[in-house]
């Protein structure tokens, strides 16, 4: 982005005159957009509904650093991150067993392609401070109720009795963006496009976490679990190690959740007592319980992201990819915030914020990984939706094979191939081959 500084008089009668840009929502997308535009010298107002940035935000736990690294080089040295993730574990889980893959590598920690566990309550506050340092005006504890719309153009925001005008408004108000709906950019969700997640933050001493997860100080593990945590429905469990706590949670697609017997809090309770999980959180103290929606519909659920005087970023735009083994939301949010800032900056220099002026936002998104990856994985949500076996039959299949291989009870054993085929035939070779083909093609 250009580093041209535009000198403007600040601080006088801004609430009357309005702002160049109003950003609604101080999550990572909103903060980054505000920060970049503030740095450019634009008058930016960032409005956050919570009492402090991050207070309403929730993440499973991990940020892939690449997109923020581009904007704030070496941010991890200064930012309140928890642990660098150097170990990835993926499990298929049944009620009694779990079969896992453990990947530990120094390649995971390479600068620029590393990832960190974070807690949004502190991380987003830090990011907002960065925005404040470059002159962004931040107002917290204020809920934006509506948009000022004149002849189809968004001209500012309405909060309670106040109306504040702006040249352009960036909607970073999260997944259930009521403002995007009010601007006519988005319709109601389909239940299959959103998942709901719960997370418990469980406090444990740092040394104990390092012991249990076999990691060095400041390094940590990310674990994903398929099958049992979501009771065989679309979803899964996750675990991230923080400095002195563990983020543990379950996510389940809304449309699938209602089909089952167990409610989400119950899934969470059962997950916590699973023999694989229980020893990891033993003697931990529950310090936080949270729940949130997750956009998982991919491009299918994307709203219109550009309007007259308005842009939509982050979760509000549905920018998130869940591949089961990796969940990415914050790096998409940050990159989309950056693209929006670049687009607004360009439109500002061009002198207008019409829908046409702001089209560059889409171009920037296309150039970056955001829309590329969203499109690449466009069939993956559908694959999961149409292949429930991933969450029910396959964990059981693996459990069966493993049990026959490792449980010795004096009974005459069968040849390994026979054992494996016995279990595979229960599901059907054809089905498995077809699912594998579909799965691989969708990613």
């Amino acid at each position: 982005m250009s580093i041209m500084k535009i000198e403007r008089k600040r601080g006088e009668g801004m609430s009357n005159e309005g702002f160049d840009v109003i950003v609604v929502g101080a999550g990572v997308a909103g903060n980054v957009a505000a920060y970049l535009l503030g740095r450019e010298g634009l008058q930016v107002l960032l409005i956050e509904r919570g009492n402090y940035p991050g207070s309403k935000n929730m993440t499973g736990g991990r940020i892939y650093s690449h997109s923020l690294e581009k904007i704030m080089p070496d941010f991890a040295k200064e930012a309140p991150i928890e642990r660098k993730i150097t170990r990835e574990k993926v499990f298929m889980m049944t009620e009694k067993s779990s079969i896992g893959l453990d990947f530990q590598s120094s390649l995971l920690g390479t600068h620029g392609s590393d990832s960190y566990s974070v807690l949004r309550g502190v991380f987003d506050q830090w990011l907002a401070e960065k925005a404040e340092e470059v002159g962004v005006e931040i107002v917290t504890g204020i809920c934006v109720d509506d948009l000022i719309i004149r002849q189809g153009k968004v001209c500012g925001v309405i909060a309670g009795i106040d109306q504040i005008e702006s040249g352009v408004t960036i909607l970073a108000d999260g997944i259930n963006s009521l403002l995007a709906q009010k601007a006519g950019l988005r319709k109601e969700f389909k239940p299959s496009h959103v998942a709901v997640g719960v997370k418990e933050l469980i406090e444990l001493p740092a040394e104990l976490i390092q012991e249990r997860f076999q990691c060095n100080e400041n390094e940590g593990t990310a674990c994903m679990f398929a099958g049992f945590p979501s009771d065989g429905r679309i979803g899964g469990g996750f675990l991230y190690t923080n400095k002195e706590s563990i983020s543990l949670g379950v996510v389940c697609t809304l449309s699938d959740l209602i089909k089952g017997q167990k409610a989400l809090p119950q899934l969470m309770e059962d997950f916590k007592t699973h023999p694989t999980v229980a020893p990891l959180i033993k003697e931990g103290k529950l310090v936080e319980y949270s729940g949130h929606l997750v956009p998982e519909g991919g491009v299918e659920m994307m709203p219109k992201i550009i309007g007259d005087g308005v842009l939509v970023v982050g979760d509000a735009a549905g920018f998130c990819v869940n591949l089961g083994y990796a969940v990415r939301g914050m790096d998409f949010a940050i990159a989309s915030g950056e693209c929006a800032a670049r687009a607004v900056s360009k439109a500002y220099q061009g002198g207008g914020y019409s829908e046409g002026d702001l089209q560059v936002y889409r171009d920037y998104l296309e150039e970056s990984f955001v829309l590329h990856d969203m499109k690449l994985y466009r069939n993956f949500p559908k694959f999961l939706e149409t292949t429930p076996r991933v969450f029910s039959d396959y964990p059981k299949l693996l459990e069966g094979i493993m049990t026959d291989m490792f449980v010795m009870n004096g009974q005459p054993t069968q040849a390994l191939v026979k054992t494996i085929m016995k279990h595979i035939n229960k599901v059907g070779v054809l089905k498995i081959t077809r699912d594998a083909w579909k799965g691989v093609r969708s990613v």
């Binding site: 601080g11 006088e12 801004m14 609430s15 107002l45 409005i47 005006e137 107002v139 504890g141 204020i142 909060a159 309670g160 009795i161 106040d162 504040i164």
Partner: protein, 257 residues
Amino acid sequence: MKIITCIKVVPEEQDIVIKADGELSFDRAKPTISAYDLNAVEAGAQLLEECGGDFIALSVGSGGIDNPKLKKNILSRGPESLVMVADDRLKDLDTHQTAKVLKAAIEKVGEYDLILCGEGSSDLYAQQVGPQLGQLLNVPTINSVSKITQSDGKIVVQRTLENEVETLESVLPALVIVTSDINLPRIATMSHVLAAGKKPATVWTLEDIGVLELFNTIEVIDTRAPQQVERKQDIVEGDTDEAIQEFITKLSTVLAK
């Protein structure tokens, strides 16, 4: 009418963490307005709206109170300006020294009609600073006030006591200590918050207000949370005579120890 509301800055209660050894950690607790003082600020804001004039917020405390977010928070609630005496020598001050520093600051501010205080601080709740400040300023001082009206250079207040409500009239200047139910503190709107950033805030040191010596009588050695007593979890169920008898027996055994 020229109003000064005194505010104590305290650590945000919900962010104080009790460590395993009972020690309190204030690391995450940001400075905020003591809850009872919000009512004193609101009372000032309402009087200003009714009769116009001048409304100043005043706070004294350690250097940490000179915090931009806190200043904005105070100024978004109605005061037109803010004066702070922020000095690390003011940490853990006893109530008398606090009143003395407030008096010196008020005298530097100049003329006033009404000083407003909250009924106590939300951390220590000694309820001492208001009355002592009134004494030091040598002005009529009324506490437990649940209503204030003003007319012709006088105020009429309702003083809520245990069994009665007194109606008192006082000349000005005066010092009034309000109860926590005198009003419902307003929630700042966006334009109030934006305007707060532009209101004047002055920060003084002790030298600025001419306080050269403090005679603090308090030394805080340690602050710890009381030890949690493990619950016995001994539950007697049912309402039969036997169950009640069992309950009584258990109770008397424990009490006899």
